[in-house]
């Protein structure tokens, strides 16, 4: 089985999803939380987009905003065009025809995302009956086929089992089967492997990629782990503090990442060729307070490369010179003389053992 799941150009092109200046604010007692604050991007049919960021970067809220699955204290603005139709202003009743049929979601924790009191078969049959109007028998047959599609052994027997009788990996496969049931054109996978152990993680990502290629489905893979998206996406969007800070085709991003934040995420992943006991670089500080985001670049307070301008002015998204599809928001990106000068200093400090931190 191939580990590289990038599409190979045989899928029909066309934009499936266009997100423009999307904002999601939550009214809370502390004030307005700007969880997603002006995000724009588009996604082609059959392509996989990885959305990467720390906890609190707004990546999960972004996917739930696009899907319209938000609590009642959320306020959305901007535009989401799905298959040419504006869906941001649809209410839950209208969205219900899109949920499960056009867009599906695989949730983070399969242990708590399946109804513990409902048989697996019934949970898979539910969207089939709602959207495709299948009768019980046809739905059960389709459910069995779906379970086989996601490589669950003894599919027929599983239909009559409850979630607690299955392992975590099996449950996540069931979740994928449910998400796939009505053949959606867009799948959100919200940290689909975080709750699973490592060997199972690879299988689940493999399965999502396989389903995507077979069904020519677009996938938005939300994760905090750059390693997860590396092999399983066509494009990567990096989010920080509710904003998109860098977006590029996967290969391009790894080859020419521009945002110091992206670079920091990279450096916080352990590498096989590092000598053992190498200290991982962590990003100092915490994600910004989304009620009172910092002035200027939101990453500046934690950025070791930030200069005065970063604390004053908000950098716009600009196109990189290496690729027209590569955008980033940084005044002194990786490769700029200012960055390189500071980087040399930092590397020296690290080797001499001095703590490095951003200005706060």
């Amino acid at each position: 089985m191939s580990t590289h799941l990038q599409s190979e150009g045989r899928v029909p092109e066309g934009v499936l999803l266009e997100v423009d200046d999307l904002k999601t604010h939550f009214r809370t007692e502390r004030g307005l939380v700007r969880a997603v604050d002006g995000v724009s991007f588009s996604l082609q049919r059959g392509k996989a987009l990885g959305v990467v960021g720390e906890s609190g970067s707004g990546k999960t809220v972004l996917s739930r905003t696009i899907m319209g699955l938000l609590p009642s204290n959320a306020v959305r603005s901007g535009s989401v065009r799905f298959a040419g139709q504006e869906i941001l202003d649809l209410d839950a009743k209208q969205m219900r025809h899109i949920w499960g049929r056009e867009m599906s979601m695989v949730f983070q924790n399969p242990m708590v995302s399946l109804n513990p009191l409902m048989k697996i078969g019934k949970q898979i049959a539910e969207p089939l009956q709602i959207h495709l109007g299948l009768d019980n028998r046809a739905a059960a047959e389709t459910a069995e086929r779906l379970l086989r599609d996601v490589h669950i052994p003894e599919a027929r027997k599983r239909l009559d089992q409850y979630p607690h009788e299955l392992s975590g990996g099996m449950r996540q496969r069931v979740m994928i089967a449910i998400a796939m049931a009505c053949g959606p054109t867009l799948l959100f996978a919200d940290e689909p492997t975080t709750a699973l152990d490592v060997t199972v993680q690879a299988q689940i990502l493999e399965l999502i990629g396989e389903q995507r290629r077979e069904r020519n489905m677009s996938v938005i893979l939300v994760t905090h782990d750059l390693g997860v998206v590396a092999g399983h996406t066509d494009e990567i969007a990096v989010m920080y503090g509710g904003r998109l800070v860098e977006k590029a085709p996967t290969r391009e991003l790894f080859a020419n990442m521009r945002m110091p934040y992206t670079k920091s995420l990279m450096r916080s992943i352990p590498k096989l060729d590092d000598p053992s006991h190498t200290r991982l670089l962590t990003i100092p500080g915490r994600p910004p307070d989304l009620v009172n985001p910092p002035r200027g670049c939101r990453f500046a307070p934690r950025c070791a490369y930030a200069r005065d301008r970063c604390h004053q002015e908000d950098p716009p998204l600009v196109t990189a010179d290496t690729s027209p599809d590569h955008v980033y928001a940084c005044w002194y990106p990786v490769g700029s003389p200012e960055f390189e000068a500071r980087d040399a200093e930092i590397m020296e400090q690290i080797t001499t053992g001095v703590e490095v931190g951003g200005r706060r």
């Binding site: 499960g100 949730f107 708590v112 399946l114 009191l117 539910e126 969207p127 709602i130 979740m175």
Partner: protein, 400 residues
């Protein structure tokens, strides 16, 4: 299987413990012989002022002639009881009479009796020769000549065979078994009807409330539940009776044991509703809270993402996992409601177990009290076993 054997064993143990404790308690309360026969001791004649057991008794008003017994160790002073109070004594002393006396007062060692008929505590002096035959007969019938543990075993043997013995205090009354046969079906019907009504009211109410959680309508409904719970049930019962039976005339005011079955069920509706409303309010609170918690679970979001309608999310996904607290309290309530409906039984004139047990306690009629206590305990145990079965039906994880 093993589990159910354990459950059954525990139930039997519980019933035995309940019966033992009640049996013991009833015997601590007083001498059964006295309750059966009334005063049998060397009574003093209290015409005018008399000496009784060393106390000077002064009577007021017309004192019927008869025998009076002074009995010690009484600490209750209920209406209608003739009590001998000796000033300076912490313990009032009770006088038992065969005649009707009302009030008692005392100064120093002068004691005044003004009427009242009382069941007493224990016979102070030995029975008079003329009463010996009666005493022996009573001792025979109630095994009173045996030690307490033996009496208990003998009582239990009879009870298990369905013979609850004769009633103590009212000679000529039917045996306890007959009394229970008459009262139990009414109480049972009242309980079943009340629990069904409570459930039928509580579930839709809670679903509605949870779907509108914390909106103004939900707040109003919350206040309403508290109002119903806080309202004493005699007030609720009288209100319901006044509005629906007296003013509107939709329901009969009282219960008539002689009417046909359906008629009687109709007569039981208002009392059942009086019991059901506070229960429904409690169930609604529990269910609403659990529903709101369940609705925040990830699998509910998952169901939404599948395109399940709001209604189906509530009914098919959220309701079942939210039933546990409700069912638990439902079970506990069943035990409390079957014997505890006294006030409602009185308001609507339904002679059920609740009024029977209160009457029996007042006259210290142990066999009746014991029988009713056992029935309530049995109902409690039974319902809670049923509820265990219901748990396993609702949640497959409990079956393991």
């Amino acid at each position: 299987m093993n589990y159910w054997l354990q459950r059954a064993g525990m139930a039997v143990l519980l019933l035995l413990a309940v019966s033992m404790l009640t049996f013991g308690a009833m015997n601590v309360l007083g001498d059964p012989l006295f309750n059966i026969l009334g005063p049998v001791s060397g009574a003093k004649d209290l015409e005018g002022t008399a000496q009784a057991d060393g106390y000077a008794l002064r009577t007021q008003g017309d004192i019927p002639s008869g025998s009076y017994t002074i009995v010690e160790g009484v600490d209750t002073l209920d209406h209608g009881q003739a009590v001998l109070v000796v000033t300076g004594d912490t313990l009032p002393r009770r006088a038992d009479t065969i005649a009707g006396l009302d009030v008692v007062s005392a100064t120093g060692t002068d004691v005044t009796i003004v009427g009242g008929v009382v069941p007493g505590q224990f016979v102070q002096n030995g029975p008079e020769p003329s009463q010996l035959a009666d005493v022996e007969a009573a001792e025979e019938e109630f095994y009173l000549d045996r030690p307490l543990p033996v009496r208990y075993v003998l009582w239990l043997t009879d009870f298990v065979q369905g013979d609850m013995g004769p009633q103590f205090s009212k000679t000529g009354e039917p045996p306890v078994t007959d009394l229970i046969k008459e009262r139990l079906p009414r109480s049972f019907a009242l309980l079943v009807m009340a629990q069904i009504l409570a459930t039928v009211i509580a579930i839709p109410w809670a679903l509605w409330s949870a779907s509108k959680a914390n909106k103004p309508v939900d707040r109003v409904s919350t206040v309403t539940t508290f109002l119903i719970i806080a309202l004493p049930n005699f007030a609720l019962g009288i209100l319901l009776k006044y509005v629906f039976a007296i003013e509107l005339g939709w329901f009969p005011q009282t219960f008539n044991a002689g009417d046909p079955f359906l008629e009687r069920m109709y007569q039981l509706f208002l009392p059942a509703l009086t019991i059901a409303l506070p229960a429904a309010a409690v169930y609604q609170r529990l269910l609403r809270t659990d529903l709101i918690t369940t609705l925040q679970e990830d699998f509910i979001l998952m169901a939404r993402a599948k395109g399940v309608s709001r209604r189906d999310i509530l009914m098919k996904h959220a309701l079942r996992p939210s039933l546990f607290s409700f069912i638990t309290v439902f079970g506990i309530n069943t035990g409390a409601l079957i014997g505890g409906a006294l006030v409602v039984e009185n308001i609507f004139r339904v002679p059920g177990l609740g009024s029977a047990i209160v009457e029996a306690v007042l006259v210290e009629d142990f066999p009746v009290v014991l029988a009713i206590v056992m029935i309530v305990a049995f109902a409690f145990v039974l319902v809670n076993i049923v509820i265990d079965v219901v748990y396993t039906l609702i949640d497959p994880r409990v079956r393991a």
